[in-house]
């Protein structure tokens, strides 16, 4: 099941907002996991209609990350991200792109684009958000 992740500044209404956007288009949420990490709200979910859900969220201006990325949280210090990419490098797993999605309060949330394999997830299990 392909997952979607929404990361925003922690706002109590985020979960309700996401549910409402999807409900309006008749998209059903199948699994859901919401948490607050530092100052961010993170909602990870799966739906019955994946592509439509992504479009609905985009139209509503909610930044959603698709299945193609692994999201991690790391300390905001020089080389922190480099050390993560080193793990992939050593494991000979190719990262297509590494993007910082948020950075504040001493931490960064980062999207790694690579195949979402068990091996890849294992490499970042200590910092994995979704």
């Amino acid at each position: 099941m392909k997952q979607i992740t929404v990361v925003t500044e922690s706002s109590p209404g985020l979960l309700a907002q996401v549910s409402e956007i999807l409900a309006e288009r008749g998209i059903n949420i199948e699994t859901l996991n919401a948490e607050t990490v530092q100052d961010y709200g993170v909602v990870i979910f799966t739906v019955d209609r994946y592509d439509e859900a992504l479009v609905a969220l985009r139209d509503a201006g909610v930044p959603a990350v698709s299945e193609d990325a692994i999201i991690i949280r790391i300390a905001d210090e020089p080389g922190a991200l480099a050390r993560i990419s080193r793990r992939f490098h050593d494991a000979e797993i190719r990262l297509r792109s590494v993007r910082i999605i948020r950075r504040d309060a001493g931490h960064g949330l980062v999207a790694l684009s690579t195949e979402r394999t068990e091996r890849a997830l294992e490499l970042v299990k200590d910092v994995l958000i979704s």
Partner: protein
Amino acid sequence: MEAMTEDKALTAEDEGRLDDFYRAMEVESSRSLGYPSNAVFDYSDLYRFLHFPLNNIGDPFVESTFRVHSRSFERDVLRFFAKMYHAPEDDYWGYVTSGGTEGNMYGLYLARELLPEGIVYYSEETHYSVSKVLRVLALRNIMIKTLANGEIDYEDLRETVRIHRDVPPIILANIGTTMKGAVDNVDTIQEILRDFALPNFYIHCDAALSGMILPFVKDPEPYDFAAGIDSISVSGHKMIGSPMPCGVVLAKKKNVDRIARSVEYVGTLDTTISGSRNGLSPLFLWSAIRKLGPSGFRKMVVGCLKMADYAIDRLREKDIDAWRNNNSVTVVFPRPATPVLEKWQIAVFRDIGHMITMPHVTRDLVDELVGDIAGTEP
């Protein structure tokens, strides 16, 4: 035989719509403070060229059988920029693009062809057009943090390059970031690359706005071919001003020639990204260059920098924490309230907003904006 045209007029309703649109544009263009578009220019002496289907299709340096084009003007424009950016005299190539994005695309395309295994490093505050280009070109890429002023974080870059030292680096350096006008120091970047003794690397500069500022200030940050870069993209509609978006990209000819050799289907070699290309924008740029020239541009840039300082002074008087980077006309301040953003077409990024003191921005306009910001709670 008669030409196949028939005179058709617009309806009164359509005419009315155009009139309304005209009036709206008159107001909006002069009140724009948040986007780096110069709104004062007069190209009316060039309007007669709107009668021709100008098309600068293909390489501006190769003659074409199609003769309704302005390539000789385009080459003059390129020569002007090449000289200004200290490109090697007989070893530069480039063209007038549709804007900053196409220039970045060309630079990164060239980099990829030269270093197919390369990884692109670019900072967090890079314009989103670069992410788009990276995706289109399927280039591997790693985003690097920025310092508080918007410059790339050199320590983070160093650590990241260290880990991937077996992969050729392709650096996308920002010469004026979109939100803070920050300039990545290409000297410092090259020191880092040299420390790792990397034999092959490529530096492309996204100089969308500041590519028309730095040549005209006393102490420019290093940014051009003299500083060791490989290609540069600058927008034409930003500082110079143009009725249509345009830009210039320049690269080293020896690099362009190297990739030309590797293209399979020799004979149809067209080195530009788009095929048919705008033949009017080179005329606009050429005419601005002829009329203003380096001294006119310098005056314009000095005026914009002064206006930026004026804005900072006025904002600080109201206890608004405003600042700008060295040699930048982008004045950064805390994100203002929504009505202010809407009225002034101000772009925001997280908790900051900015005003860009382009040549059409007057003291009156700045005063009015400052009054609005100070008069509302953020």
